[in-house]
């Protein structure tokens, strides 16, 4: 029997989901709000309004590798990241906050938000340890779900962004 290669299988495996098919802004906002209330404080509300671009921005993120591969990235100003860290540490917050404390606390918020975003995506997939620094670049603007919120009046963005560039379009 002669097998005929219709290309079906190749096309099937080439098809990769975009984040906009898998999750929406309202879900990301709900996940973030729940994380804020549990980690930052009971009365800590995220207001879904875009603010000005943060001064001295810093990002924390985790990577998801699976049927959808990308990052969940939180970005805010450094002073806001420090304020968030103090809120998490509460009574254990030191007088002088070390960079290590900000990396730990701001990274942990990305870990919790990212873990819950991952749970809403098709699996199985892996989750990286959190990183803090300059945000990974958006590789495909079509593979992006982003919300902009204000926390204590300061801008925070949460971006669920694909790690891969767009596929070439069929001729």
């Amino acid at each position: 029997m002669t097998a005929t290669d219709t290309g079906e299988r190749r096309r099937g495996s080439d098809a990769r989901p975009l984040i906009t098919d898998l999750i929406d802004e309202a879900t990301v906002e709900s996940i973030a709000q729940e994380a804020w209330v549990a980690l930052v404080g009971e009365d800590e509300i995220l207001v879904p309004l875009p603010g000005d671009a943060p001064v001295d921005p810093v990002s924390s993120w985790v990577d998801v590798v699976g049927p959808w591969t990308g990052s969940i990235v939180l970005t805010t100003g450094r002073r806001t990241a420090e304020e968030l860290s103090r809120a998490l540490l509460r009574e254990a917050s030191p007088e002088v906050l070390e960079e290590e404390d900000v990396v730990d606390a701001f990274g942990e918020i990305a870990n919790v938000v990212g873990g819950n975003v991952k749970a809403a995506l098709p699996g199985p997939s892996g989750l990286s340890l959190p990183e803090v620094g300059e945000a990974p670049a958006v590789r495909n603007p079509g593979d992006l779900c982003r919300i902009d919120v204000l926390w204590r009046g300061e801008p925070v963005s949460i971006s669920v962004q694909g790690a891969l560039p767009p596929l070439p379009t069929a001729p």
């Binding site: 980690l39 509460r90 404390d101 942990e108």
Partner: protein, 120 residues
Amino acid sequence: MKILVADDSRVMRQIVIRTLRQAGYDDHEIVEAEDGADALAKVGSESPDLVLSDWNMPNMTGIECLQALRASGSAVPFGFVTSEGSPEMREKAANAGALFLIAKPFNEETFQEALSGVIA
């Protein structure tokens, strides 16, 4: 009663310990471990009555720690406190011998529900 809290995030260890106290478990001795390998060693040296462990940690993950404990014959009660609470993770945790999986974010009620049958 001695509880071992394993998480690579110092901040998260503090939040777990704070939540334990808020949930009413405030008279237990707490020991901290900063990754799975540290937790494995401290189960040996500290003999805790319960391990509360993160899943995703450097050096040794929480699930690897649990598997190593069970392989060595340790039956220490073990529960996960992790940001990943998917049904697959819960199944994997239960199959490895975990008593429960608390997904982050959590609150004192979540802790009470998970721990009520485990510690007094």
